[in-house]
Amino acid sequence: MAEVLVLVDHHDGVVRKVTAELLTAAARLGTPAAVVVGKPGTVESLAAELGALGAAIVYAAESDDAAGFLITPQVAGLAAAAAAATPAAILVPATVDGREISGRLAVRLNSGLLADAVDVESIDGEVVATQSVFGGEYTVRYRVTTGVPIISIRPNAVEAAPTAASPQVVPVQITIDPAISATVIADHPEPIGDRPELGAASVVVSGGRGVGSADNFHVVEELADSLGGAVGASRAAVDSGYYPPQFQVGQTGTTVSPQVYIALGISGAIQHRAGMQTSKTIIAVNKDSEAPIFEIADFGVVGDLFTVAPLLTGAVKARKS
């Protein structure tokens, strides 16, 4: 069975959750092979974990330059592994980095790119990806007709179900051309505390204009924390300065598709709905009974979020204890 390459998303020695999802997706299409791009020694510390997540092969694309340059080290690593493996497909996370890596790689390998897929399958030996278009208004199935299918997969779209393997480690040489690379001077991770990342969370609690102030957002955060979820915000809330921009959900922010989406004080403008309407279950709390968010909510409460949310937080905590 042909190999399917997966770009490992790792930071500071931690493998991000989306990697497990991509290895599960890869197993549907062929033999999962993880590609680690990092400084020398990275693979040694990650190989066992990647095996537990289902990687049968781990390509080690290690270089002292790997962390200092933007995007091009990962492109070089995937290109080198693709030359060694002749893979059936190459999977990357549909994150900011992943989408740019996949774009550059598609040109380098002259291969078709299927971006932001929510599912992949093999039909008569051909790799087919499903995309969600216009914020979930359409689903479209695509295939690649030129080169190796390069597919970016949205975090949280595929449920990780690993079959553990004992991976074989295969070193590949990479050279990074500084003339075509931007240099990373410093990285500033956002302190997200114990909360899951917005794009990958299975529960998202978002606040909108109805939250009224930055100080009041603790009501949203407390509900999110009780559910082990991420905090989001509507564009109106972000534009009003209630919550930082990286937490914006919607057409111009992050697209989320969690198991549960709770909208507090969000009217549900089409721009917001485009970023969350593929959520499995939608709960809405809004004072305005005519708010469009109720048109897509599985359960809606017409009322004051400052009454409803704390009561819900208490009820969730009570069930857990």
Partner: protein, 259 residues
């Protein structure tokens, strides 16, 4: 410094957007067409740089006839000239083909910097700027919220999923901006009148030196198998809060085994 800005006409996200059921390409007639908001920020970025350092801004688009409206809007904002990549043979291009045509168009210019939006609101692949960088053999500095140029070096804050990074690159380079970069200016009357006289050149497949056997929907490297409109999401239960709304939500979630 001379700058090329990539802009795109897209269906307005405030109107209903549709795909054509024959081939699942964008139904451009179904919705109002507008300059993608992120691209107006790209134009603003370029105008601020050339206002400070001199040079010209060329806006570049690929699209059908009516995409000229978008070029005129950018010219009215203050861009100096425009290039319209226009050819029926390009219809239905995927991101890989689009990047090839745009790279060819940019090669006809002599620019120090290429600026694009980080992703369009319709295609949303977010990959054209990096494809373009690879084709042009340039560094990419993408998803930036700040941009400073000092001589031939650019510095930027790049926002990614886990925070942000300070990055630097030598010019020429490809930059993509996110919506936090600036607030775009509105064209004023004088700008709108001036835009009518600014040069717009049109480039087709032949002018760009593209091989016609590689362009358009039939030759795309990614092709649609089938598609389906999502069944409309229907409203579920809606209750007025009588003081127990929070408890009722908890019961709903518990009944669905979600908590």
């Amino acid at each position: 410094m001379d700058i090329a800005v990539l802009i795109k006409q897209v269906p307005d996200t405030y109107s209903e957007r549709k795909l054509r059921e024959q081939d699942w390409t964008l139904d451009r007639d179904a919705a109002d067409a507008v300059l993608d908001e992120i691209d107006s920020r790209g134009v603003e970025t370029a105008l601020q740089l050339t206002e400070a350092k001199g040079g010209e801004v060329t806006v570049v688009t690929m699209g059908p006839d009516r995409a000229t409206e978008t070029l005129r809007k950018a010219l009215a904002m203050g861009a100096h000239k425009a290039v319209h990549v226009l050819d029926d043979g390009l219809a239905g291009s995927d991101a890989l083909q689009t990047s090839a045509a745009l790279a060819a168009a940019i090669r006809t210019l002599s620019v120090d910097l290429v600026i694009a939006g980080n992703e369009s609101t319709d295609g949303r692949t977010g990959s054209v700027p990096s494809m373009l960088a690879e084709r042009l053999g340039l560094p990419q500095v993408t998803s930036v919220r700040t941009l400073e140029i000092d001589g031939t070096t650019l510095r930027a804050e790049r926002v990614h999923d886990g925070g942000y990074s300070e990055v630097t690159a030598s010019l020429p380079a490809v930059v993509s901006v996110i919506e936090k970069i600036n607030e775009p200016r509105y064209p004023n009357f004088k700008g709108i009148m001036a835009a009518k006289k600014k040069p717009v050149s049109t480039l087709g497949i032949g002018d760009l030196g593209l091989d016609p056997s590689t362009t358009g929907l039939a030759n795309a490297a990614s092709q649609v198998l089938d598609g389906a409109a999502r069944p409309p999401r229907t409203a579920g239960e809606k209750v007025a809060d009588d003081g127990s709304g929070g408890t009722k939500v908890a019961e709903f979630l518990a009944a669905a085994r979600l908590i």
